[in-house]
Amino acid sequence: MEKMSFWRRVRFNHNSKKTVLLSRSKAGNFGVFLFLLLICAFMALPMVYSIIQSLKPIDEIFLYPPRFYVKNPTFENFVQVIGLAASLWVPFTRYLFNSLFITIVTTAVYLIIAAMAGYSLAKGKFRGREAIAQTVTLTLLFRAEVTAIPAYFIVAKLGMIDTYWALLLPPLAGSLGVFLIRQTVTVSIPDETLEAARIDGASEYRIFSKIVIPGIKPALLTTIIFTFQSMWNSAGTSQYIFSEALKELPTVLSTIAAGGIARQGAASAVSVIVMIPPIIVFLISQSSVMETMSHSGMK
């Protein structure tokens, strides 16, 4: 078995025993190590802090002077969250349903239309294709938060304020998925393959479903991850929703958390609960995401 090591052991020794890559001094290596260590500590601090806080019993949360670590870990904060959730005015299951319903439907529909559009913009030869593709790429600049207000008037005009439609439809306009799928199709589906299928008499739709879709699986998975992530993380920030019955899980969890100082333990438990789904999804699909992102470059 290979020994675990911090550095990549042999760098770029292309068919030769000699490493041709320039190497760094010992001090340089130590500097890089220290830099990464500090960065990781800073990046992980809130996450670690919230996990520790969520496991503290009430007397440890209010301990003075405070202690960073937890002595007697307990799940009572999580139990408290469940108790508070059960006593809500709108049944807890409603929020859960809203979250699942909106996230799943939007992600599924977006995946389909983005795959179709990405393929079309990569391989089509119709007039205006390049202009549309450029426009989609350019709108990567405008995140949903920024267009939400200008879209407010449109959403209102369509009578969608305070309905499920306002949560389901606007995310379908996202450009990141279409952009990544288009890039991937361009790189990984050669024109010759499509041409051969056409000569064999396959229709464009058949080519799309039998050749293109199987050929870009990592990009599709990545689109699912990113859509899921942004839906989950933006839940509750919508300006189009006022009714309690239309709100989603993260919103109600933060409402529970906002109950003042006595809820600090519950608040930490909530943030731990909310961060679990995106983390699991990302860890499972990490290698597909990295593969797709290698096509993300733009000219």
Partner: protein
């Protein structure tokens, strides 16, 4: 050139383009209605006094004049947004690149862990709320406790309401969250660099790793760098959510107020859509301007 040759050789009629249009249509519809139309209509509405209730009148440049000459809070928001964007954008971009560069030399397992840790704030979205506990104003807050134990301060600091500190803390949290899709793109880009260039350059006599970075890595990473820059601009100018959660809306003396918050305020609280549209147009314009500049600078590198 070879493309033309094969086209002449085959002399096949161009494939039917209708299926491509059919495949594109559903997305294009949503893209038009929820992205293009809002942008275009905000340009039109910015010249009116539209408020969603009365009939709107054309008011020329009144909204813009009011915005830049009379609205002092907008001036604060504009200044804050520019500072946030011009600091957090480049810092996030450069750090993303440096971290991706360094971790590319680590063993696979370590690389995966570090990538996950660095990407986790962007991944988990709402976890930044925890910073409010770290910077809570009493002596139980993590930051206050730490500084008091070290004897640097004697009394707890009101981090989030004291205007001396709140701006910097929001900046810190925004930078903390700025390792998103662009960072992943850099990591993937480093992984797929062409090794032969490095070997050729090493044989040609590169002196050190900085030269290697400048002459070999940058030109190959050009497309990824541009993607990363676009993602940086898109998040750096959209600051607002973090500010609102950490320091409230409005914050003390509007110390962390931003264009996005100003726009949301006028659109959803006061329903002055014409005025909010003018704010949106300014924001879009700034982002496009920065995109053009960054594009110019980066294409010099990769060509």
């Amino acid at each position: 050139m070879s493309k033309e040759n094969t086209a002449i050789k085959k002399r096949r009629p161009l494939t039917n383009q209708r299926p491509f249009l059919v495949l594109l249509a559903p997305y294009l519809l949503f893209f038009f209605v929820f992205t293009i139309l809002p942008v275009l209509s905000s340009i039109v509405l910015s010249f009116t006094d539209f408020n969603m209730v009365t009939i709107n009148n054309f008011v020329g440049f009144d909204n813009y004049i009011r915005l830049f000459l009379e609205d002092d809070i907008f001036t604060i928001a504009l200044k804050n947004t520019l500072i946030y964007a011009l600091v957090s954008g480049p810092v996030g971009f450069i750090l993303s690149f440096v971290i991706a560069w360094f971790i590319n030399e680590l063993s696979r397992a370590v690389r995966t862990v570090v990538t996950f840790i660095v990407y986790s704030p962007a991944l988990t979205g709402n976890v930044f709320v925890i910073w409010t506990y770290i910077f809570s104003s009493d002596s139980r807050g993590f930051a206050n406790d730490f500084l008091m134990k070290l004897g640097i301060v004697s009394d707890p600091i009101e981090w989030l309401s004291n205007t001396d500190y709140s701006f910097g803390i929001v900046m810190l949290v925004i930078i903390w969250m700025s390792f998103g899709t662009g960072f992943l793109s850099f990591c993937a880009g480093f992984k797929s660099l062409d090794r032969t260039y490095f070997e050729a350059a090493a044989i040609d006599g590169l002196k050190n790793r900085w030269q290697e970075l400048y002459y070999v890595t940058f030109p190959q990473m050009g497309p990824q760098l541009l993607f990363g820059a676009v993602m940086s601009i898109s998040s750096a100018f959209a600051v607002g959510n973090v500010n609102q959660v950490l320091t409230g809306n409005p914050s003390t003396n509007y110390s962390t107020h931003t264009i996005l918050l100003h726009m949301t305020d006028y659109a959803t609280v006061r329903f002055e859509m014409g005025y909010a549209s003018a704010i949106a147009v300014v924001l879009f314009g700034m982002m496009l301007l920065f995109y053009v500049v960054v594009h110019k600078v980066l294409s010099k590198f990769s060509d």
